[in-house]
């Protein structure tokens, strides 16, 4: 890659680092460090919320998914605007009005210490691991594409992020997120424009080719529980997932707890409601345009250079044969694509193109199976995450390639910084201050928060470095995470019911997790998007029943915010 691209990347990293260090003002007490003294404007919080959710996986994985699978994935976000509106009138006023540091702290006020501690521990376990995987995803791709050692790639993303998060706290995290979001939007828009310009067909012709290959199918109304991305799973299951994520996950809740007022907090969530679907569609559109681009220009057999080298070394004859087949299949498809672009309405042209496209896909399937065998696995290799890096490093003009790589790093850093900041908050507020040192001065907790940020940062970098070998463990933790996400949401909704009691909340939480586990193991085909619905509904049902059975005793005096508090 041209050195000027690296200048862009280094300049961006330097800018974020220096600006993070400048943002240490106002971080001299715990509230300043973790919540920016509850002083941030809605638009900065809104961009930070979006930047936290958009990780490097979105930039390289989702774009690749667009290339091989089209716009279908956008349905995953159909429930998001609905979730944001519901949160704006339910959980956000309660959490902001309760003046808490963490979402889980509120659960002790409303219910009891065990519900708070269990939810905080579940958050720490799953988010601590996921923080490592967020760094690992781009680091593994960078290592393969640029040939650098993996630990260096992890350090390149992890070290600056950990440093500015330790020093600047939530102030640095939020203002870096704002810059990162701007950079990401500029990079995505630039890449879409360049691809449209480089495709040797008009935009309408390009769209006809994409449409013939099924890449523009954004809606699937099939009423199926096993099909992950349908209109219904996205709208209903997606809404519950987003309610859980934005309403109860500390990495998001902490963003809007730092807003100046309840009004600013809920408006900040509506920024995502506005822009998430258009932005996600634009990101997937990059992949669709890459697919069209490679109709007219021959793509490599393998997008991951490591796969290419492995097959070439392990099975040279097979490699050569695959190359010849691929070349012939691609040429035939190119001719069919050119014919289709000229006469898009002709049924013969569409049928011919589809046949040729299937032939190219078949060669690629064989090639990926060969790459899997060469790596000693009985599963085919996957190179979806390497499609966009290949395009960026080979096809984008100087400067824009650097901007896109800086955008990928920005996305990883924004997500990791917010998670480190929230992991530190939950560790110190919900565990250390609650159970170990309840009565220390503010400065002590501020120091503890910085130490916790550093410790979680080191943990995340270690997980990222060993992510390949920890693969199955991470999968277990992620699966475990999906067991309780919807259940925690159920507990928070239960907290808003006047008759709910602590015993009901705890029993409901356990029942919700058990119900999701039962669905997961009993009907493994059911899409994970429905797990959150099952968890939330079970907690509400069991929690309400146990609360009613327990009568009016126990924790009647617990601190349930009134409407007046919620509005304040």
């Amino acid at each position: 890659m041209h050195w000027l691209n690296w200048v862009v990347v280094v300049a961006y990293l330097g800018y974020v680092g220096v600006d993070g260090l400048r943002r240490t003002r106002g971080t001299r007490d715990l509230e300043g460090y973790l919540l920016a003294g509850r002083s941030l404007p809605w638009w900065a919080v809104g961009l930070s919320v979006m930047a936290t959710q958009l990780s490097a996986v979105t930039m390289i994985g989702t774009t690749g998914q667009g290339a091989v699978d089209g716009l279908r994935f956008v349905q995953f976000y159909f429930g998001l605007p609905l979730a944001m509106v519901i949160l704006g009138v339910t959980l956000v006023p309660f959490l902001h009005g309760a003046r808490v540091y963490t979402a889980y702290e509120y659960l002790e006020r409303r219910f009891d210490a065990r519900t708070r501690t269990l939810t905080a521990l579940l958050f720490l376990l799953s988010r601590g691991m996921s923080c490592g995987t967020i760094i690992a995803a781009p680091a593994v791709v960078f290592a393969a594409v640029f040939g650098w050692p993996l630990p260096w790639c992890v350090a390149l993303i992890g070290v600056p992020t950990v440093l500015y998060t330790i020093v600047g706290g939530v102030q640095a995290v939020t203002w870096a997120d704002v810059k990162q979001m701007v950079l990401i939007v500029v990079a995505v828009t630039g890449v879409v424009a360049v691809l449209l310009w480089r495709i040797p067909a008009s935009p309408a012709e390009a769209l006809h080719v994409a449409g013939a290959a099924g890449r523009l199918r954004a809606f699937d109304f099939t009423p199926s529980l096993t099909n992950t991305y349908t209109f219904w799973s996205g709208l209903i299951g997606g809404a519950f997932l987003m309610l859980s994520y934005f309403g109860t996950d500390q990495s998001q809740v902490q963003r809007y707890l730092a807003a100046r007022s309840v009004g600013e907090a809920r408006t900040s969530l509506l920024v995502s409601a506005y822009w998430k679907i258009p932005l996600q569609a634009a990101i997937l559109m990059i992949g669709v345009l890459v697919f069209v681009f490679y109709q007219f220009r021959e793509p490599p057999l393998y997008f991951n250079p490591a796969d290419d080298a492995r097959v070439r070394a392990a099975a040279p004859a097979e490699y050569s044969a695959l190359g010849t087949r691929y070349d012939a299949a691609w040429r035939a498809r190119r001719d069919a694509a050119v014919a289709l672009a000229r006469v898009p309405e002709a049924p013969d042209a569409v049928a011919a193109f589809r046949t040729r496209d299937s032939a190219v896909t078949a060669v690629r399937t064989d090639a990926l199976a060969a790459a899997g065998r060469a790596a000693g696995s009985d599963k085919p290799a996957k190179d979806v995450n390497y499609i966009i890096p290949h395009v960026v490093t080979r096809e984008l003009p100087i400067g824009l390639a650097g901007l896109f790589i800086a955008g990928v790093m920005a996305a990883a850093m924004a997500a990791v910084a917010a998670e480190l900041n929230s992991l530190a908050a939950a560790s110190v507020i919900d565990l250390y201050r609650r159970w170990v040192r309840p009565e220390a001065p503010d400065a002590h907790y501020l120091g503890a928060s910085r130490v916790a940020t550093a410790a979680w940062g080191v943990f995340a970098c270690v997980v990222a470095t060993y992510a390949a070998t920890l693969g199955s463990l991470i999968e277990v933790v992620n699966r475990f995470g999906s067991f309780f996400y919807g259940s925690i949401l159920g507990v928070f909704f239960l907290a808003m019911l006047p008759r709910a009691r602590a015993a009901g909340a705890f029993a409901g939480l356990l029942a919700g997790m058990a119900a999701v586990a039962a669905v997961n193991f009993g009907a493994p085909g059911v899409s994970f998007l429905w797990h959150n619905v099952v968890g939330t509904v079970t907690v509400l049902a069991v929690g309400s029943l146990v609360s009613l059975a327990g009568g009016r005793g126990g924790d009647v005096g617990a601190d349930r915010p009134t409407a007046g508090q919620a509005a304040g």
């Binding site: 404007p41 809605w42 638009w43 716009l71 956008v74 159909f78 605007p81 944001m84 509106v85 704006g88 769209l207 006809h208 994409a210 449409g211 013939a212 099924g214 523009l216 199918r217 954004a218 809606f219 009004g263 600013e264 809920r266 408006t267 509506l270 409601a273 506005y274 679907i277 258009p278 569609a281 898009p344 309405e345 049924p347 569409v350």
Partner: protein, 38 residues
């Protein structure tokens, strides 16, 4: 005293705009699918 930062727009007005933008986005996606998928 520094200038007061911009206040958030009224919630109901923002909500209406959110719904309109979402409908427009969904309509655009539906048009892409119908117009270009044979």
């Amino acid at each position: 005293m520094p200038d007061a930062p911009p206040a958030p727009p009224p919630f109901r007005r923002t909500l209406t705009r959110v719904l309109l933008v979402q409908l427009a986005a969904l309509a655009a996606l539906a048009w892409l699918q119908r117009a270009f998928t044979p």
